[in-house]
């Protein structure tokens, strides 16, 4: 893969990487026939962002399929995963002198090179090591969303000014040509030190607000803020697509056809019920839907620890008052696809028919208590050896 980016678009690419850095820590770069995907996903797998830069964005673009090279690199595109911080440092300075940016792989696909050709024949080259060869893909469908909004980023930024920076989640409700934004508060206990904010916007304020079905959804604010700052920097409108089905993500897009388009997919919580139990239920179903939505497909070496990693609850507010959300019990009603979630198995124990379930569980956890091994006649030689003295007798505390 080899591409040249003109100076005007270098700024856009820089802003895109800045936005991605606010969402995830690793950048997935996937060149394809028509352009390059820059993607990332956050640690909790609750937000996915992709920037697709098309051919017209570049001065010159050649994916590996065009190159007459050895059969190895022709077989697959040079995809990679790199550290976000390294890419961020390439675009950190203002770069007003940059005339062109070249992006290519070197060292047999093990290094990604950003070469900034600046004025006065200065050339800055950044070599970023490739962590892994891996793709990132998310399954979602924008077109089935029944609610759609299109607005200038300024409107949403203005509306979000009213919500403090420490408030992570926001709930938006659409009904009857109005949109109401509310900060999400735990309904179990009313937080005594947070302000509850409600902000109403009429549909006339938006460029377009199509409400197919009345919906109330809750999602994380941080990623939306990142995308809005990108949209404002590029002076582009933002469109949002969402539905009322519990667990369906909300998708925000910034389109600048034919040069590039950007999408972020945010996991949502359907907060229709207000009881803590149903919250934990919806969080579990959300987590399982997420797992089916976001599937990493490693192409070459798979890091086994990553795929078996237990996925923590997405978009869970990290407050201590939330024990119910961190480890929700798996109830039989969850029948969506679940990948590798560790479950508390209380399967029937055929050998012990007739024992009540509590006792069965106790026997599972505390087997020694039920053994007739407490009288001294049964102590073996090994037990008689004193391995450690009583700590009480030793030091005069």
């Amino acid at each position: 893969m080899k591409c040249h980016i003109p100076s005007a678009n270098v700024k856009v690419l820089g802003k895109a990487i800045q936005t991605l850095s606010r969402i995830g820590d690793e950048l997935y770069i996937q060149p394809h026939a028509d352009g390059i995907y820059f993607r990332t996903v956050d640690a909790q797998r609750s937000a996915f962002a992709t920037f697709d830069f098309h051919r017209s964005f570049f001065l010159h673009y050649s994916s590996s399929s065009n190159q007459a090279s050895s059969s190895q690199s022709q077989a697959q595109p040079e995809i990679c995963k790199v550290a976000m911080k390294s890419c961020l440092s390439v675009f950190r300075t203002q770069n007003i002198n940059v005339e062109m940016c070249k992006l290519f792989f070197s060292n047999n696909g093990r290094m990604l090179v950003f070469q900034l050709v600046c004025r006065h024949s200065i050339c800055k080259t950044h070599h970023v090591p490739v962590i892994q060869t891996e793709t990132l893909q998310a399954n979602y469908n924008k077109s089935t969303a029944r609610n759609k909004l299109i607005t200038q980023s300024k409107l949403l930024i203005d509306a979000l000014q009213n919500f403090r920076n420490n408030q992570d989640e926001i709930t938006i409700s659409v009904a009857a040509s109005k949109m109401i934004l509310r900060n999400f508060t735990e309904t179990g206990e009313f937080m005594r030190n947070t302000v509850r904010t409600e902000f109403a916007l009429e549909s006339t304020e938006f460029d377009s607000l199509q409400i197919g079905v009345d919906a109330t959804i809750t999602f994380n604010l941080k990623e939306l803020r990142a995308l809005l700052s990108f949209a404002e920097a590029c002076s582009l409108p933002v469109s949002g697509h969402f539905d009322n089905t519990p667990g369906r993500p909300i998708i925000f897009c910034v389109n600048n056809q034919p040069a590039f388009d950007a999408e972020i997919v945010l996991a949502t919580m359907s907060s229709n019920d207000t009881t803590a139990f149903s919250q934990s239920q919806s969080m579990t179903s959300q987590r399982s839907v997420n797992d089916s939505v976001l599937r990493k497909r490693p192409s070459t070496s798979i890091d086994p620890s990553q795929s078996t990693q237990k996925r923590p609850t997405p978009a869970a507010p990290t407050t201590p008052q939330q024990p119910v959300l961190s480890q929700p019990p798996i109830t039989p009603q969850i029948h969506t696809e679940i990948e590798e979630i560790q479950q508390l198995h209380w399967e029937d124990d055929e050998e012990e028919v007739g024992t009540p379930p509590e006792l069965r569980a106790q026997k599972f956890y505390f087997p020694r208590c039920f053994k007739d091994s407490t009288d001294s006649m049964n102590t073996t030689q090994a037990d008689a050896v004193v391995l450690a003295y009583d700590s009480d007798g030793e030091s005069g505390k």
Partner: protein, 281 residues
């Protein structure tokens, strides 16, 4: 208990916002708001249980164009509550957006699962209807038995009262002197001299201000210049001046010989009172 007030004056909203930010910066754990027919009084105690050391009373007529108030009982027609000034300040900062200032800010006492002070802000919008932003600030109501604790004390008449217009200069001087020593000596004379002094092992450092307008002094028949002085904790006054978000026009320092310093920050008609006790060397 009922409370409903509507603010339409942008200046009043700004005053309230500045006051809330100032109190928030003082890092008071809790601030008390007392609402009565005539006044809204914010007061702050240093520690729970000790007396009020800081207060500011705003006239209801200046803040609200419409006001409905029904207090705890008919004779005690007041509402007292604890609230967090930081949350009030952040709620009130919504009263300005890119399109202009709010048309109106309505305050209401509500009970949404717990008592709240609700700020309903009408903002200008591109569309037909104004945008509404509603903030519910959680509060704690104070029972009537505790009301006397939160009343601001009667300040004895100071021996000398001096007006300081150059607040910035005095603040800079106090910050510098504070770095040298934790105790600050203030001396004011009836001829308009103000002296701020600290003493360390290295030496004595003093700054003299002259020709300050004297608001009030005790009459001395023999025409001698009367001088009042006291030692205070420099940190307290430095912190007070640092948290000032009021666009203070002038300071009034009332000195009571060896007992107390009464500082009043004035902006427009708003006076923020602060009492600092004298310390012994």
């Amino acid at each position: 208990m009922k409370f409903r007030g509507k603010m339409t004056d942008a200046g009043a909203v700004r005053q309230l916002t500045n006051l809330a930010s100032t109190l928030a910066k003082m890092k008071a754990a809790s601030v008390t708001l007392r609402l009565s027919k005539d006044l809204s009084t914010f007061s702050m105690c240093e520690e729970a249980g000790s007396g009020v050391i800081c207060w500011c009373a705003l006239e209801q007529g200046q803040l609200f164009t419409e006001l409905t108030l029904e207090g705890a009982t008919a004779e005690h027609n007041q509402i007292c509550m604890h609230l967090s000034p930081a949350l009030v300040a952040s709620a009130l900062t919504s009263s300005k957006n890119a399109l202009g200032v709010a048309n109106s800010v309505k305050l209401k006492l509500t009970n949404k699962k717990s008592p709240c002070l609700t700020f309903q802000i009408d903002l200008p919008s591109i569309g037909l209807n104004p945008r509404t932003c509603i903030h519910d600030v959680p509060i704690t109501l104070i029972p009537r038995s505790e009301w006397p604790l939160h009343e601001h004390p009667e300040v004895p008449i100071p021996n000398i009262s001096i007006r300081v217009s150059s607040v910035k200069k005095v603040r800079t001087v106090i910050d510098r002197l504070r770095k040298l020593s934790s105790k600050l000596h203030i001396r004011a004379s009836s001829n308009g001299d103000l002296c701020l002094r600290t003493e360390t092992d290295a030496g004595t450092f003093a700054t003299f201000f002259q020709h300050m307008p004297v608001i009030q002094s005790e009459d001395t028949n023999d025409g001698n210049v009367q001088t009042v002085s006291l030692w205070i904790d420099a940190k307290k006054i430095a912190q007070l001046l640092a948290s000032d978000q009021l666009n203070t026009e002038y300071l009034t320092l009332g000195l009571i010989d060896d007992r107390m310093l009464h500082v009043i920050l004035t902006q427009n008609d708003m006076h923020l009172h602060y009492l600092i006790a004298a310390i012994s060397l």
